[in-house]
Amino acid sequence: MNLKKIDCLDVAKHVCGDLDEHIDSPECRAIKKHLESCPNCTAYLDSLKKTVLIYQHIPNPRFPKRSRKTLFAKLKLRT
């Protein structure tokens, strides 16, 4: 990434990959500076973080315990 001519597309590519990681790298310092004055990139980064957060919070069904019985029978386990 060319740090002298950083634009929104550079920021989009970088923040998509790393989000908040490696925040002290030279690239991230340049991006942080860009974010301070760019409402589009700020909104974009925020939406990516929310995407991840939402997927982390989807409730999942419980493990069906009958599966364990089926497995043990299939493997002929002596428990």
Binding site: C38, A43, D46, F63, S67
Partner: protein, 205 residues
């Protein structure tokens, strides 16, 4: 698999017993990991039946291959690589989903942003709602989330779930999937952009 037991030596002792043919030790191992394997399979498959099949196949594989586990890597890394493979197989048996996963120019981005008379950038990308996640999690959104992730090609979906949902490091995922770290990062980036675009309308209106 955020488990404190993932590196535990007592667990290694249990694995060694199971490797020696102790059925009770193997059963204990299954009980310890059944929920996390099922949960991962469900997150990737988004289908109870497929997740259950992937779960069964995974533990049958573990039973048959347990002697190959040498204890040098984390047991969870080894286990994930098996369940990932079974999830991938489930989807390769059906027709592969096709989705265009763009990244180079996410929607709404311009090389030259629109500026006002004073040179300040005008916001053209809509902000997402600040609603708390728990409040957001209604039937409509859940259906949208399921639909969006199902559209994502499974190779990308697996990387997204491992990295962003399960919290595995890029290095671990690279080992599990036998991919280079740049390839893991590239798939993750594309997955995030794709899912974000799928949710954008719902989250901005």
């Amino acid at each position: 698999m955020h488990s404190s037991r993932s590196d535990g030596r007592p667990e290694l002792a249990l694995i060694r017993k199971a490797q020696a043919g102790d059925d009770r030790a193997f059963a204990r191992l299954v009980k310890d990991y059944e929920s996390i394997v099922y949960s991962f399979a469900y997150k990737v498959c988004r289908d109870r039946e497929k997740a259950e099949e992937a779960w069964q196949d995974t533990f049958v594989n573990v039973f048959r291959k347990l002697k190959q586990f040498d204890g040098k890597s984390k047991f969870t890394t080894w286990l994930y690589s098996i369940v990932v493979n079974n999830c991938l197989m489930k989807h390769r048996h059906t027709k592969l989903e096709k989705a265009v996963v763009r990244i180079d120019a996410p929607e709404g981005f311009h090389e030259d942003p629109v500026v006002d008379a004073e040179g300040h950038v005008i916001q053209t990308i809509a902000s997402w709602k600040d609603t708390p996640i728990d409040t957001l999690m209604n039937k409509e959104l859940r259906s949208l989330l399921d639909g969006a992730i199902k559209k994502l090609p499974v190779d990308y979906r697996v990387v997204f779930v491992l990295r962003d949902v399960e919290g595995q490091s890029a290095e671990e995922v690279s080992r599990m999937l036998k991919l280079s770290i740049p390839a893991v990062k590239s798939r993750l980036r594309r997955a995030r952009v794709f899912l974000r675009e799928q949710l954008n309308d719902y989250m901005t209106t």
